[in-house]
């Protein structure tokens, strides 16, 4: 099957790219093997995407974008991609079922939270281990929880958890936070929050769900066990770059480098949203990236093909 533009990933960046591409009259396919909406899907309340006076769920927001892209005629394809050939004028996307060709490809594969990789983490994910306080926080009313990490996300989500939990520990491997000062100040003032410095979680323990954490202090070498009902892990974000060929230039963390047109170093290949090396990762920055990528890809196709006909 042939398309003008193939978009890989249907989070906010991919959906926005699809809206712009399909509305622009280009034959557009968007591939998503998982849930349409991406990471934001699991967020209960989005209140800072401009245009929505009242908060709405991440699912509702991306569902609107999904329908909007469909209205303009974008094809949603839920096959799993096994390989991509992005060199040359004809780009190839192979799935377990079919082979697709396109003139331009926009990579919107997103990112995912970094794991601690300690015993118990995988076993108890969904049963006390979470990467999303906004999603699961309400389950911990009057419970004791921990947040692991020292950046903005860790501390912001820790503050959010104080709405529900009776106690929120912040476990951080260093002796100071990386989070913005305004957020730090709020955290230090909050009586429900307690800081465990210079420490890492060594094991997450329990029978059928999380019951306590084994914590190792890197300065004193002391090991302590703290009873815990839940642990929220915020130790970074990793790019979903497994499918990308080695020729696409990445930064040292594995995010895709682009210019201001969202063009990668490979002609006709664009990137948008969380997969991109960028300064801020929000729904609104992802949708903007997607719009720019689709607009740029359209211009690239016009410049590089005699006709827009497939």
């Amino acid at each position: 099957m042939r398309y003008d533009i193939i978009i890989i990933g249907a989070g906010p960046a991919g959906l926005s790219a699809a809206i712009y591409s399909a509305r622009g009259g280009l034959k557009t396919a968007i591939f998503e093997k998982g849930m349409i909406g991406g990471q934001i899907n699991v967020t209960d309340e989005v209140e800072n995407y401009p245009g929505f006076e009242e908060p709405l769920s991440g699912f509702d927001l991306t569902d609107k974008m999904h329908k909007q892209a469909q209205r303009f005629g974008a094809d949603f394809i839920d096959e799993e991609i096994t390989a991509m050939g992005l060199e040359g004028l004809c780009k190839i996307v192979e799935t377990t079922e079919n082979k697709y060709r396109a003139k331009s490809v926009i990579i919107c594969t997103g990112a995912h939270p970094r794991r601690l990789n300690v015993p118990g983490e995988e076993q108890f994910t969904g049963r006390g281990v979470s990467y999303c306080a906004t999603c699961d926080g309400a389950l911990y009313r009057d419970k004791t929880v921990a947040v692991v990490g020292g950046g903005d996300s860790a501390i912001e989500e820790g503050l959010f958890l104080t709405r529900f939990a009776k106690k929120v520990y912040v476990i951080h491997r260093r002796d100071s936070l990386r989070a913005q000062k305004i957020i730090q100040d709020r955290a230090y003032k909050n009586p429900k929050m307690e800081f465990i410095w210079d420490s890492v979680v060594q094991e997450i323990r329990g029978e059928t769900k999380v019951q306590d954490l084994e914590i190792y202090n890197r300065k004193t070498n002391q090991i302590t066990h703290i009873p815990m009902d839940g642990v929220f892990i915020y130790v970074g974000i990793l790019p979903n770059n497994e499918l990308l060929e080695s020729r696409i230039e990445l930064d040292s963390s594995g995010f895709v480098l682009t210019d201001e047109y969202m063009h990668t170093n490979v002609p006709g290949i664009y990137a948008a949203g969380d997969i991109r090396h960028t300064v801020l990762r929000q729904v609104v920055t992802a949708t903007s990236d997607g719009a720019i990528a689709a607009w740029s890809a359209e211009k690239w196709i016009i410049e590089n093909y005699d006709s827009l006909e497939v």
Copy 2:
């Protein structure tokens, strides 16, 4: 009066900056002497801002952003700014009525359409002369209209006008269009469109409203008069940069240069939206700019002030 962040201009960029800034706990003022919403306000149907399955008016879209910013506590101030002092740590904004101080200023003054500056243009604006087909096109059902310009906007809006008008002339000073090929192809195929090449409008004539155009052919030096009910002018976009001090670095067209954090060359001064030197001007790129500018300004304030207290 003192604020953490002052935002100049309440179009999509300014409104988004206000949402992010006020939600981030910063004392935020947003100045707008005209209508809240900016240029997009006069657009009847916005159908490509991601998140809205059905088209909505520019007014409705920015009204939602306005209420969203108010919900987080941003102060809207409708005084006219007379001077700004943007150097130093304390930024000053003077209006006809008051003097305001802020730690950071975000410039979101937008842009406006370039005028032809020919006799009759000003006189007949709103009576046959328009800069917005989407706004006024429906008034020209079964009429004869002209579009002046050869870029994307001119041709796209010309195509839009064929929904209403019986005839749409495209008057362009060169012998080929700058518009994207896909748009050109559509225009050439449309039987209602006729192209007048190498020509400029010399005068817009009429009694109480537009009746005909005096057109000068630059190659043949011939002057013709064509009866016309309306003329839509799309010859470029100009930055609203009158208030900016000479120290803020602009591009050759007068748009503000920023880095990817939306920071200008003046410490603590940010720019977002149409006023910025950028690759694409859409509501979604403006709101993304605004979010990044507010986030960056917050970080800049934390780094440069001991406390966030005003």
